[in-house]
Each structure stands twice: as C-alpha cells, then as structure tokens.
Amino acid sequence: MAETILKLDHITKTFGDTQVLSDINLEVQRGEFITLLGSSGCGKTTTLRIIAGLETPDGGTVMLGGKDVTNEEPNKRNVNTVFQSYALFPHMTVAQNVAYSLKLKKVDKATIQKEVASVLTLVQLEGYDDRMPSELSGGQRQRVAIARAIVNKPHVLLLDEPLGALDLQLRRQMQLELKHLQKKLDMTFIYITHDQEEALNMSTRIAVMRDGLFEQIGTAAEIYNRPKTAYVAKFVGSANIVNGVVKAQNGSALTVEVAGGEAEAFAFDEKYEGGQKICLAVRSEHVLIHHCENEPQGLCAVVTEKSFAGGMLRIVFKLEDGTTLVASRHGIDIDFSVGDKACVGWAAENAVPVEADE
C-alpha cells in the first residue's frame, strides 16, 4: 500500500475580493510525479505556495507526512521549492547556493562538501562550484536551482513552472532529465505547468485546475482518453466539443443527433435517455473525412481553413449548425481545398461524452 505523503483537505484562499482557491483536495503518494495543469490565474501557484508554507490558507488543512503543517512556518517544513524565477542568491557562488540549506542545519563542512559535489554531479554541473549565478546561462541556473532544492532531500519537491524560461529544445531535454532525476531520487515531485504536452509527458498523475478547483485528477491516459469535462478535453489535447441530443442507447453504443445528422458515441458507464442533451469530445486526429460523392455518410460540412503546422495538417470544417470541427492529419496535403464540401464523422469509440461547460 502506497504511503500518503501530502494531503490537501478543503483548502480555500482569497486575495482581497478574489477567491483564488475554492476547494482544493489532493492526496499525493510517496514517489509520485504530480502535475498541476492549468492556464495562468487558475490558482496553481497559490496551491504550491500553500504547500511550501509561503502562503497560509483561509480554510482547510495541509498534512505533510501525516503531520498537520497548515500553520507551520516554511522553514519547518520538509518541502523545498524550485522557483519560477530560480531565485538563486546572486551574492553567493553556485556551491554556496547549494550548501545554503545544509549550512543552516549545521551539517559539518566535510559532509556539506561531499553532498554539494554529489548533487552538482547529478545535475551535470561539475566544476561550476565557484561560478556566480550571473555567470551562468538560463539552463545552468535552472540546474543550480534544482540542485539547491534537492540537496536537502525533502519529502516533497515543488517545481513552479521551472522550464518556463527555457527554449523549446532545452525544455524537452530538461523534461527528460527531471523525470529521470525524480525516479533516481525516488522523490515526490509536485510540478506546475500550463503546457499540456509537458504534463502528459512527465507525470504519473495530472490534476487539471480551473478557477481554483481541480476539474479532474487522473493519469495522463485517463485525462487524455476520458476527459470528464469539456474544459479538460479542450485544454488537454484541444479536442473538438460537439453538442447533440441522444437518440438511443444500446449498452455502451450511443446514437446521437448532431448538426442535422447522426453520429455515434461511446458511453463508459453513463446512462442516457432519448432526447437528453449531450456534449461529445472528439480529438482532431480521430475526425474522419470523406468525399460526399463517394461515400455520403456522417455529417455534412464545408472546409473553411487549411493550415500546416508542426508536422500536422490542420483542416477546419463548419457543420450545418455552425459548429466548427478541427481535423488533423500527418502529411503535408489532402485533396480538399477551402470551400469544398465534405462528409465528416468519427468512430463510436472516439467520441466521449463530457460534462458541458457552464
């Protein structure tokens, strides 16, 4: 049985008139890599700061290693943070930065030296001991910030968009390194990002956050394949959201009336009645396209846009009721031009019912 290392219980927080966190509940197991995913302003940084003790919640409790630390000062918590701005001490060398927490704990000099050398090796910064932070590149500063935070061997490592300031290539490389580091240290990571790709790539579990609430918590596969709400489906992997009315249900097979046509969908364990309104999430790569003359099936649509980006061709359709539907294909072209009529559809198992956005 996994051990719960961190538990957030009904956390609320208000700044002035703004309710930043409405009701945050989260249980983190030892050794997990949890990502808080959400757009800016959703409260993810505030959640992290509450765990670190840099902010006190208005309500709720924070349990760390089975101990209530809600009102404990940050220096008394066995939690360390990698700050978004890195927050390296500019008047200290790399080695002094990393040794800071050990010195405070009055660890003897020889041990400090050994520990500092070993974490600097771990983050591939051997030989940088005597450099000042101002002499390092962004990526190197990032590594120092990580080294400084893990040298203390915290119960939980908090990372606040640590890769936000790096370029794409370095980001990808650091994602992998962080993942390896987490496994190697067997440390619990709580990671903040607004980048869904990063979240899907790194995490054991993802908590999608919106307006101070967790919209859905689950593994990357769960979040991607079975989004609970339209928001999650759109935010993670930008799915199409299609509104329809249920015609019939036969086990998991749903027949839905969509935009003047008929489509199929897959119900996991939900039960629907005929005439009930429903919201479907369809990933763009799952949208099927046919020439109407050849195979008149699915929904009638018109191509309104065609663009090529990042190895994927993106085709935008307009359905008869005005709904836009995005399809994506590998390759560089497809025999449809803007203005062409097309029949679009999807396989039943690729249309998932989600909770509609209010």
Binding site: E73, P74, N80, F83, F89, H91, Y100, S101, L104, K105
Partner: protein
C-alpha cells in the same frame, strides 16, 4: 553602426563640448585653484602671497585643529550610526508598502525639503530651548521637574544632524530594497532559514549597497554641516566645517582654509574608494 558614424564625423564630440567646458570651469577649475591656494602663504592684512609653503598643512597637526578633526569624526560617526539605525528599517519597510502608500511616504519625506533647512533648524531651537516645547511636554506630564537645557549641547547637535540627513539614508536604503527580488527571501525561508536568518543572510546583503551609500551620504556631510553645529551647539561643538568657514570668513586665512578643505576631501575620497571596494559597485545607490 549609427553611433560609430556619428563619432567619426565628430559631431558627438561637438555635442559634448559644453559639458567639457562646464566641467572645466565649475568643477576642475575651483578644485585646482583650491589646491594651489593651500600651498601659498597668507598675506599680513588681506589676500595671499605667491610664496610656496607647506606650513598650512603643518598647522593642521596642531592639537587644537587635530582635536577638531577628531570631534568631527566622533560626531559624524555617532550621527551616522543613529541615522542608519533609524533610516534602515524605515527604508526597508517603505519598500514593502503598496505602490499607493510608497507614493504617499515619498511625499511625506519630500515635504520638509520645501522649507529652507536653516528655518527648519530654528524650529529645533524652539523645541530644545529652556522652557521650550520639549520641556513643556516633559514637565507638563511630570517626567522631568526642571528644564533639560538641551539647546547648545552635544546631543542637540546630534539630533540636528540626524534630522537633516535622515532622508538620504532612507532613500538610499529604500532604492536598493525596492529593487530587491523578494522571492530570494522566500527561497531562503523555503530552504530552512528563520525569518531573522533570511534577513541577515539575504536581505541585508542585498541591501548593503544602499546602506553603504546611505552611510557615505550622511557621514561626509555631517563632517561639514557647520551651521547645524553653530545653531544647535552654540560655540561648544566646533567641526571641521565650522573651522573652514571661520578661517575663510573671519580669520581671512584662505590658504589654511584651503589646506583644511583638501585634507577633508582626501578623507572623503578614501571613504568612497573603501565603499567601492566593499560593495563592488561603481555608483552610489539612490542619489548619485
């Protein structure tokens, strides 16, 4: 590229010409004149004789003048320590205020500057003199039973110095605390530092340039602000500044006044270079 071409056809040199002339005329000229003057001999009645002498500098080593230097140092030191103790927390907490309150505090700090400093000093006479405002309050509340007779004492001069120079310290500390990245303090706390330890190991170090320039901006003037010593200290406290003024205006010993000024200037320069060495900066935080 543009800058280079400008420099080549010499127009930038022309633009700088007024600056050079101004500097030569109003900064370098008087300075050279003062140094030259300090090596000349005083005429018997009025003016200066063109005879080279070192006697002006030798004069400084007479006990009475050395003592003046020592007293000035003591007063400057006392005032500066007090100013730092009051001004540092003031500037520090001011930097932590909201933007609106920062503006308000800035105005509060600036208002006294709208009144002539001499007039503000006379205000202190009203407070300090026997049976003045301070005595009335203290005696009225029964804390003291007789007038304190604070005016024309050493403490009165110290208070005057602190009052006149406190703003410089506050603004210097404020400007460096304002620029500080407060997430560094959070990082320190996060890494296990108590709030006091985070202050001493991070905040203090980061605001040290401000504190140091505050010290320079108060220490140096407080050696020379003779009118404060004159007005609040009577003739009991004589500073280098008063000495120079007396030699210049009353004794008409210009060469000696010049020599005193040169020595004071050398000490000031030494202090500033010490500051640069200690803080690794080339500019004074805040005001210069």
């Amino acid at each position: 590229m543009k800058k280079k071409s400008l420099r080549k056809n010499g127009s930038s040199w022309l633009m700088l010409l007024p600056l050079y002339i101004f500097t030569l005329l109003f900064v370098l000229g008087p300075l050279v004149y003062m140094v030259v003057l300090s090596f000349k001999m005083r005429a018997d009645v009025w003016g200066v004789l063109d005879i080279f002498t070192l006697s002006n500098y030798k004069n400084i080593f007479e006990p009475v003048y050395l003592n003046t230097f020592l007293q000035s140092f003591k007063l400057a030191f006392t005032s500066t320590v007090l100013i730092a103790l009051i001004g540092y927390p003031f500037g520090y907490f001011m930097a932590k205020l909201s933007a609106a309150w920062k503006k308000r505090m800035m105005i509060v700090l600036m208002i006294p500057f709208w009144t002539n400093s001499l007039i503000r000093l006379y205000g202190w006479i009203i407070i300090f003199r026997a049976n003045g405002s301070l005595d009335k309050i203290l005696m009225g509340t029964g804390i003291t039973s007789a007038p304190l007779k604070l005016l024309y004492t050493y403490p009165a001069v110290v208070v005057g110095m602190v009052y006149a120079l406190l703003q410089f310290m506050i603004l210097a500390v404020y400007s460096s605390a304002e620029k500080m990245d407060w997430s560094l303090v959070e990082a320190a706390r996060d890494l296990g530092a108590t709030s006091w330890k985070a202050f001493t190991s991070v905040t203090l170090k980061m605001t040290l340039p401000g504190l140091m320039s505050g010290i320079i901006l108060t220490f140096i003037p407080s050696m020379g602000l003779f009118f404060i010593a004159d007005i609040l200290g009577g003739n009991k406290v004589v500073l280098v500044g008063s000495l120079i003024q007396d030699q210049l205006m009353k004794a008409h010993n210009w060469p000696f006044a010049a020599a005193l000024s040169v020595v004071l200037m050398i000490m000031t320069t030494l202090m500033i270079s010490l500051y640069k060495k200690l803080t690794n900066t080339t500019e004074l935080e805040g005001l210069l």
